[in-house]
Every structure is written in structure tokens, then in C-alpha cells.
Symmetry: D3
Subunit: 245 residues, 6 copies
């Protein structure tokens, strides 16, 4: 039994609350255990310079944590005057992941800004951000599609993310909380589509390594987690879920 | 009748949800109508350099808005690499206001970091931040006092803040929402103690001016608003409220 | 008697030297006692992006102190690479104040840049800046009006600013010098038009509060100070003063 | 046949020139085809604050490209005043990778700074950096070990990195050059030890996805590449290679 | 005759007003024609890290222009968030020049901060800054020496600076004003001691070159200018001048 | 005999390796003894804003050192977030020097970016950069001229740079290496054309001075050095050398 009583292949309790804030075209509050992230999707009617005039859109993401989302207060990146390497890595990951399941040419010359703001952190904030952001993005697309701003439904598949890792005591485990994460010797984030295709695989042994066999065990756990998350996303999306073949 | 059906001296619905996030020593989610702010108070066991060795503490504040707290998405200050003048003004105001009702020598050599993060904005975010932050600060003091880290109760009075203004159509009004705020010719923020002493008075006529008579009418409305807010703070604080004489 | 021999309602010696530097369209050196500020007004033939194409102008201000304007040398903001919160507050205040007495539509698509550079500081630098900047702005408008770049006289009233405060020993006092300012429990800056309308009122009790009665006494002192300053501005403006009804 | 005549499982020509510059404790110029990187290892006799007093060392890395290492000149990060997200990702990756094969407690309280400066880029700069940096680090350790500054040989295994990917035309391929990289639908970087343990696995489908089967094929190609690179590292290290079991 | 009626070897009218502002240990307002610079010298009782514990002092300089010191308003470096290359060059030059005539070991562990703030610019601001800063530095040393903080008189010689150049029409000329400077094909700044030793020689042909013969003619003009400036410095220093052998 | 066995008027061994990297229009690796600099010239088909529409081009330069080009590792300017004063001085010098021997109107509306990246430093990096950059620029011009992008040959003369200085032991010396440079009392950089016209003369006595006689001796040494360097440039340029009259 893990430190919070879970099985090695058990997700924490996941809640996806849609339309959590009123201004964005799409928004959710996603909780995975004590990790809570507000994800919002904002549509802007223009694209970055490198895409202008090509008739296609863009999806980009920003990620941040409230200073006291963590056990120790962290200094705001705005006060430090620069975004940390960790933040940049995460927001680039979220953007890339979402772009893999959207047909940008169906967006038209629009940018969707994804904002993932962690209000409480207990491990797995980047994967919760992706899973939540996918729902916020879908809700924003629903709004634009219903309003006929977008002619064809642009999202091609479900997308969710989960962390897996290797723990001294339990071996391979699914969905690490903060305590597990800080002692795990290997930490892997898996982003997958609803059809079990990989979008991103990032497996890191900080001052450690892992074998091919361990890799396979982790990928199996991840697949189970993704299955469950995609189901929860479907529920959260309600009628919008019907737009996915 | 105002644009949302209120009387000129009527506050929006105020809700103060205590202990909203788990890590900070004190936290609240305060809602004033559609304006929602997470206020947290974090205790750090050291003071800034200019106070070291004097046996007294410090209270400082930071303020931020989620990018899509507003109708139009605003660029993150961390992305721009600098904090705007507006943000600096607001966080300096929140810090100064709270310091007026706390006996810093009773804090010991500790800093209380107040974080006010606006998750949804509809006018009055700086005054909601002060009103909420006072409760978060009191909860953090309760925790430190109960744990005997602080020997004497340091907070000397209630503290709340409200906006008043002058509107073309209704004259002096209390608690402006965003639409009212953007068309008002005068915008005034009043911070008062529970004993109706002024802590801050900031009245600005952007491309406009106001008379002494109008000033008095606004101050009366503000006093009514403060009375009501202090009562709501008292309720939210529960048993901690008994510590205030 | 105050520390420099003044009565509680007495201004320091005020001198306004016009056309102090040769390049700007308008400039003054204003001295209030030992506080000395060079104020200049520069006209630029374009407006910031948010105003383009609206046929109206803009007035904006910047404020700075020479490093050794103060008793202790302060580090240059250019060396630190950022403008402090205090500076931002002051320059926003100066800009807002001036915009309240100018009809921006009569300016045409022009920006007036106000630069207030404190060369010697002894308290009240922000209020001296506003009082001096008003004269520099008027001189620049005179030049543009005489040259027929501006068709109608755009300034609607006199504008001056003064500080008042509450002192342990003398109670409410007018025009605080640095020593008084650093021990005062309340510090209030009042910006008024020549018709005694309020433009800005900023009253702050740093670790202190003040009553409604004290507020009134301070406002009366401020009104006396403004009367005197407006007269000195009129003298300094010479024939330009006749353009004000 | 690929665009440069290679087989799908064929590395470009790899040259590792040791002691390329005279000041660093260890340095190499590594070429993988037209990709050329100067890797240097500098030993500093202190550790970052978070490690002080723990008796162990640290390895950290920085990565940069000369402005005209690329086909189009890129703006220097020093001119822009900030390090890009891509650079941060890469330098964090290099540091993490090297730390997985060094016993930091045997380093003593020392930091090894790894600098990877790309002087000519043709794809695979991050993997070439890791492969070259491992050799530079080993040379620096040799020097410190021979000088008896370090008592026990701290490096535990060989470490090399290679890119693999999926190409429209050839399917899975090894060691992508720039042209291949810019059209590949999947790009994966694999960092492995000499014992074929994974250190890092980063597989990204930009606007694309990949199956478990494709993952396996890519991992096999990577293993072949790593085998060859480790042999070349061994040769380059000469007598130092004998220190590895 | 030059554009302002001067001979080719004639300085503009030079005025050195001592003790221009009250806070610094030494200060002057130097005017060379329409170029006006406030130079101040501030003594700080500590040295930069690289000199700590060596028993000697340091002299460093900062240079800035008011935004409207120039014909066109220039943007403040504090607003841009960085100091320009031109400013850095000038402040490094001023510091180096002053350090050549002061015996730093007689200063004790003290830093003298020189601030040169140009309030009106008409060419030659860097040379006027050096000439004025020398006087401000001497006044500050007088104060410290009289107060016995410094035991031996530390300044070893006079120091002044002047510009020379080559003009299409008049050939080699002394002390260029702004108009002359902007059309001159060669611009040279010469810093010399009272004993006609060179401290700095910086001669630049922007999109032009100059011969050895022209160099000599310029150096002769410079020597004449320096002679006159040193005499004016002597007068301005009054009794302090007697401290120089 | 100097510390490396040279005569006082002897250059270190100079090697100019052309086309060192493949992407730039022109590039060299220049070595002067142990000082090694990669110089590249990149042609961009547009000019900076201040030159637009004037039908002429621009040459600008950037300079940097690899962190471990020096004996002690230096922190990257990109990590510090700003370019140092020293770097700015050097890159402004390189740009100015090159512009003195190119007819910008013959370039058309193009910018040539010169990048000088020091990979190993042993004194004289700025002069080696200028000497090498001249060759890189000429190679890039050859390419543009041959491709008929440029109609007339734009370079008007050879350009080289060398350092001279005054040493306690040997008096005036040519081409200082790092050890000589760090103990020399005077350091002078001379930039000259192939016709022995001065382009830049920068002679600095850090905490020292020099006489007119010493100046002359240094200038003679410099002339000898420039003669030799221009010959080496000619050789390196091969057939391109014939384009210079």
C-alpha cells in the first residue's frame, strides 16, 4: 500500500469542474487528489507572426503556480523578472501536446491561448494541466463551432497525460503524489491520445537509470491511467463528446 | 437602479470562504459579486534586511491576476519580465493597509507574505483583496498564536476596504462593478478600521474633478460598506473573532 | 514653531524659474525650500497606440531623482534595470493630475512628455513636480498655440499640489519637509484645480490611522496652500496667464 | 537511401578531438557530420548554496550556439537579455544526464561546469553535446584524480546520446541531420549508459503521434548508435578509459 | 570663423559653480557653452568586493542625461531597463580618468561615487563631465581631509579633458559644439594631467580616417585647451588648490 | 626578451584560416598566438530602421567569449541577462572600424552582421577580432559581388588592428599577450588602414599616464605590426586581394 493507501495502478480522485470561470471561452478546475489547476482556453483572432497569411491557427500554453500552491512559498516569476526553465519546459510541453490532436487548418487564423494556473500542488501538475487543458480547449472549440466561427470540428482525438515512476519500495507506480515524486528514482510523463498513440514520452532518471523492462511496466500503467482519464474527460464534456467520432 | 439592479448604497453579494487552499497558514476565497480573489497568508521566520535585529516583524503583499481573469486576456507579468505600475501600486497599498492594524513588535522577527491572486475580475479587485487578506492574516495569526509562536495577539482592529465613485447617472455609488468603474468619472478607494478610522483614502478623477461635497457623500457610503464588511469578516473568523476586544 | 521656524499653515519659500533649459518646449526649475525639481514638457507629434486615429492627444509623465539628490546616495534605476514601485506611482500620479485640466481633443494627435527630475530633495518632491509641471506644460502649450499648431487653448484651469500631514507635536501641518515627513504618522497629498475641485486625494497612515475630523483639518490647510501656489504659477506664467479665463 | 546517402541505422562520421582549447580542465571538439560542438569541463572549488556543507559536488551545464552556427543567423541570447526555453531545456537535460553517471559524493564540494558551444549546427546538437561533454568531463576528472584532488574515481559508466525519429519516406531512422529533423513527424532523443540503461527518453510528436511498435523500433536503432558512440568515446579517452571497469 | 564665431583654438565660455547641490560631499555645475553638467562626488565607507581587505579605495563614475537635455527627447535608460553602450563607455572613461590622478591607497577602504548628470547638452558632455568631476572629487577630498578621515592628501595632479576634431571647412578645431560634432569626420577626446601627461586618448574616424600629421595638430590644440581648463579648475578650487604641489 | 621570447617589435604567430564554418557568407578562424577568434560575416537583405529608404547599407558587429576562453571561467552574458560594458565597447569599436573602409552606398540596403566569438583568449582579442573580421567581411563581399548582388566592389582599403603598450621592464612593446597586458601600465589599441591612416586610436593609462614621446614610440611599433598583418590578410584573401587597387 502506498503512502496515501492507493494501489500501485490506482489514480487519485479526479474531478473536472467545467466553466469554472466566466470570461474564458472554455475553462475547467481539474483536481487530481490535492493537485488543483485552473485551465482556461482563450481564443484570439490572430496568429503569431510566423504563421500569418497561411490560413491556419495556433495553440500555445502558459503555466504558472500561485506562490503558495506549494508547501514552501515560492517567489513569483513576475517578481524575479524571468520565467524559470522548469516553467518553460512545462508550457512548451502543454502546447505541443494539444497541437497533436487539433487540425490547425480548421481553426482559421486564430490563436488559442491555454492558461494553466496551479492553485494547489501535490505532484503531477503538468499532467493534470494537459488533461484539464484538453477539456478547456474542447469547450472553447464547442463555443466557436456553435457560433459558426469555425466551420469544421477541429479536434481529432482525446488527449490525456499521466505520470508514472519507479519507487524504491513499490517499484513501478501510477500517478505519483508530491511525496512519492520527490523520492522516486525515475519520473516519467506520458501523453497519449484516446487511441493509445504516444504524443510525448519523457522519462528521466535524476541521478539514476532504468532498464527496458522497467520502461515497459511503466508504459502499461500509463495506458491504464490514460483510459480512465479519457472516460472522465468524456463525461465532463457532455454533449460536446459526441463531436468526437 | 444600477446596471445590476442594486441600490446606490448596496454592496454586491459577499462570500468569504476560509481555508480555501491547504498549504498557507491562512487562506480565503473572497467573492464580491463576480470578483473572486484567493488571499493567502504565509509566515516566514525572518525579516527583510532593513529590519534585522530589531525584534519586530513585517507584513508585505503581492497581487496578481490570472491572465483570463479579465474580459480580454492580459499578458502575464512574468512573460513581460516586469511588474506593471498598477500592480506595484496595488501591492504596496495592501501591505501598508494591513500594517496599520498589526502590532509588528508582537510578531517577532517574522514576515507575513500576503498573496492576493484574482481568479475572476469584475471591478474592485484591490478592495476585495484587502478585505480578504485581513481574514487570511487573522487566520495565520490564530495558528501562530495557538502554537505559541506568537505570545500576544498582534492584530489591533478590523480592517476592510471598499470602492466608491461618481457615476453620470446615479451620482455617488458604493462598490462599483467593472462596467460602472470604467465609466465613472471619479474612483475612490477607502480603507478603514473597524473603529471607522481612515487608513487609506485614494480618490482619483481621471480627466475629471470632484467637489468637497461629493467627497463627503462618497465617504458616507464607504462607511456603510465598511460596517457591513467588518460584520462578514467577524462571521468568517468564527472563534478567532473573540480575540479582538 | 516647526523645525524650520514655520507656522503650521506656512509654505516653504517657493521659486519658479521658467525656461530653465533650452531644448524643451516648456521648462521650469521649481524650488520649494530645499526641494528642487527640473520640470520639462516636450511635444511629440504622435500618440501612443491605444489613441491612434482618434484625433486626440495624450499627456504622460516621468519622474526621477539624481542619485545624490538625497542625503544618502540612491542607486540609479537605470543601473538596477527597473523602475521602482514608488517612481511608478509618482509618475502615474503626475500624468493623471495634468490630464484632468487639459482638453485632450484640443491637443490634436500629439503627446506631451512631462519630465520631472529632482536635483535636490527635501520632502514634497511629487507635489513640487506637479506644481512645476503644470507651468512647464502651460509654457509648451503657449508655444504650440502661438505657432498655431494648436487651434484652441487646451488648458481648462490651474492645477497645483501640496502635501499635508499629522505630526506628533504640531498636529496637522502644511508642506512637510523631509524631517517632518519621515516622522509624520499621516501623509496626505492633495492635487486641486484653481477652482478648488479635487483631482487627487491620497492620504496614507503608515502603521497609523486618522479620523474624519483630522481629514477635514488637513483639507483646509491644503486649500490654503493651493491658493498660494496658484498665485505663484500665475506670476510665473506672465502673459500666458491671460489665456486662462 | 537517405538524403546524405546513409542507411537508416547509420551514424554520421563522428570525430572527437580532445583538449581542443587550453584553459579548461577538460575539453573536446566533437563533430557528428557537419554538427560541431566545443564541450568544456571547468572545475570550481565550491558548490551551489543548496548543497553547501553536505560534502558532495555538483555537475551543471550550459549550452549555446554561435549566431551563425545556423543557416539563418539567430539573435544572441545575451542581446535579447534572456535565455530561450529551448536553451534551458537542453542545458537542464545535459546536466541531468551527466549527473546520472557520476558519484557526486566522490567529487567533494566542487562544481563541474559543462559548457557546450555549438559552432556549426546540422541537427542533433543536444545529443552531440552530451556525448562530447561526457568525454570532457572524464578528462577533467582524470586531471583532478591524477592531481589527487579527488580520491576515488567518480564516474560510474559511459554515457552517450543519440537522436532517432520517424520519417515519411524511410520510417524509423538513426541520427537525423537538420533536413531530416525538420521534416520528421517524430523526434526522439535517447540518453543511455554503456550498460544500456536509460537515463533520458524524450519522444515528441510535433503535430503527430506514434505507436508502441514504432517506439520499439526507434529504441533499437538508438541502442545501436549508443554502442558505436561509446566505443568512440573509449578511443578518445585513451588511458583514462582504463579507469572504467 | 566657426558657426558660433569662435577661433579654431578657442574654448567655449567655461563656468564652474562649486557646491551646487547640498547633499554630496563635493559638487559642481560645470557649463561649457550650452553644455551643462551637474557633477557630484559621494563618499561611501566601503569598497567593492574585489578590493575588500586591501586597505585601498576606489573611484567609480556614473553618467546620465536628462531625457530633454537633447534637442530630441531621448528615452530614459531606466524605462528601457538597460544602460546603453554609449553610457557605459562614458562612465568607464570618467572613472578610469579620475583614478589616474588619485593615490587609492591614501583613500582608505572608501569608494567615491562620481555622478555626472547632463541637464543640457550641446556637444562635449563627456569631457565636461571629467573636467567638472575632477573639481567635485577634489572638494569631497578636501572635506574628508579636513575632517581627518583621510590622513594624506590623495590627489596627485590636475586632470581635465577636452574634445578636438577635424572639420571639412576649418580643419582641426578645439572644443566641438553639437553641430560641429555631428558633421566632423574625426572626433577625438583627450584627457590630460596638469603636467601634460596623457591619461586617455580616444580618436575615432566614423566612416573616415586621419593621418599622423592631423593627429599631431589635434594634440596641440588639446594641450592648449587643457592648460586653460586646469587654470579654471584652480580658481574654482580656491584654497583647496594649495594642496596640489 | 619578453616572457614568451619575443622581441619588443615582434608579433605573435598569426594564422588566418578562411571559410572556417560553412553557413556564413564569409568566415575565418584567426589565431594570434594562443588567442583564437571565429569571425563571421552574415549578409541580411535589410537595414536598421534609421537607414531605411536611403539606398545604403550598414555594417554592425557583435563580440563574445566562450565562458572558458579565459583562465577563470566567466559567466555567460546570456545568463546574466545583460551585455557588459566591456563587450559593448568592443563591439561598437569593431563595427565603427569596419565601416571606415567600406562604401556603404555600394552595399545597397543590406546589413552585414559581423560576429566575433573568442574561443580561446590570451590578450589582444579585440584587435584580432578586427583583423579577422576584415577578412570575413571581404570574403562575404566577394560572394555577393560574384553573385552580382552588389554591383561595385565596396571595400576601399585594407584594415587591421594591433595592441601596443608600455611595460615596466621592456618599455614600449608590440602585440601584448595576456600576462603582459595585465601588468602593462599603458594599453593602446590602434586600428589603421593599409595606407597607414588612423581609424581608431585608444590609449589608456589605468592608474597611470604617458608622455607624448612614449605615444610616438608606440605608434611606430603599431605601424610595423599593421604592415605585417595587412600582408597576411592579403595572402589569406587570395584572388579577392586583386579587387583592392
Amino acid at each position: 500500500m502506498r503512502n496515501d493507501g492507493r494501489q500501485i495502478n490506482e489514480l487519485r480522485k479526479v474531478v473536472i469542474e467545467t466553466n469554472y470561470i466566466k470570461h474564458p471561452e472554455g475553462s475547467v478546475l481539474i483536481s487530481m487528489g490535492d493537485t488543483k489547476v485552473i485551465c482556461s482556453a482563450s481564443i484570439e483572432d490572430r496568429v503569431p507572426p510566423f504563421l500569418r497569411g497561411q490560413g491556419k491557427g495556433w495553440v500555445t500554453a502558459e503555466y504558472s503556480m500561485l506562490p503558495r500552491a506549494t508547501e514552501q512559498r515560492t517567489i513569483r516569476e513576475s517578481s524575479k523578472g524571468k520565467v524559470s526553465g522548469r516553467t518553460m519546459e512545462i508550457q512548451r510541453l502543454i502546447g505541443r501536446a494539444l497541437r497533436s490532436v487539433i487540425d490547425l487548418s480548421k481553426l482559421g487564423e486564430r490563436t488559442v491561448w491555454i492558461d494553466c494556473d496551479v492553485i494547489q500542488a501535490d505532484g503531477g501538475t503538468r499532467t493534470a494541466s494537459i488533461t484539464g487543458a484538453f477539456v478547456a480547449l474542447s469547450l472553447a472549440m464547442e463555443k466557436a463551432f456553435t457560433a459558426k466561427k469555425i466551420k469544421e470540428w477541429p479536434i481529432t482525438d482525446y488527449l490525456a497525460a499521466i505520470s508514472v515512476g519507479i519507487d524504491e519500495k513499490h517499484g513501478e507506480i501510477l500517478d505519483l503524489n508530491y511525496k512519492e515524486d520527490s523520492t522516486a528514482k525515475v519520473d516519467m510523463n506520458v501523453v497519449m491520445t484516446g487511441s493509445y498513440e504516444f504524443v510525448e514520452l519523457q522519462g528521466t532518471g535524476e541521478e539514476a537509470t532504468y532498464s527496458k523492462d522497467q520502461l515497459h511496466k511503466m508504459l502499461e500503467l500509463a495506458e491504464d491511467g490514460i483510459t480512465e482519464l479519457a472516460m472522465l474527460q468524456k463525461e465532463a464534456l457532455g454533449k460536446t463528446a459526441e463531436r468526437f467520432k
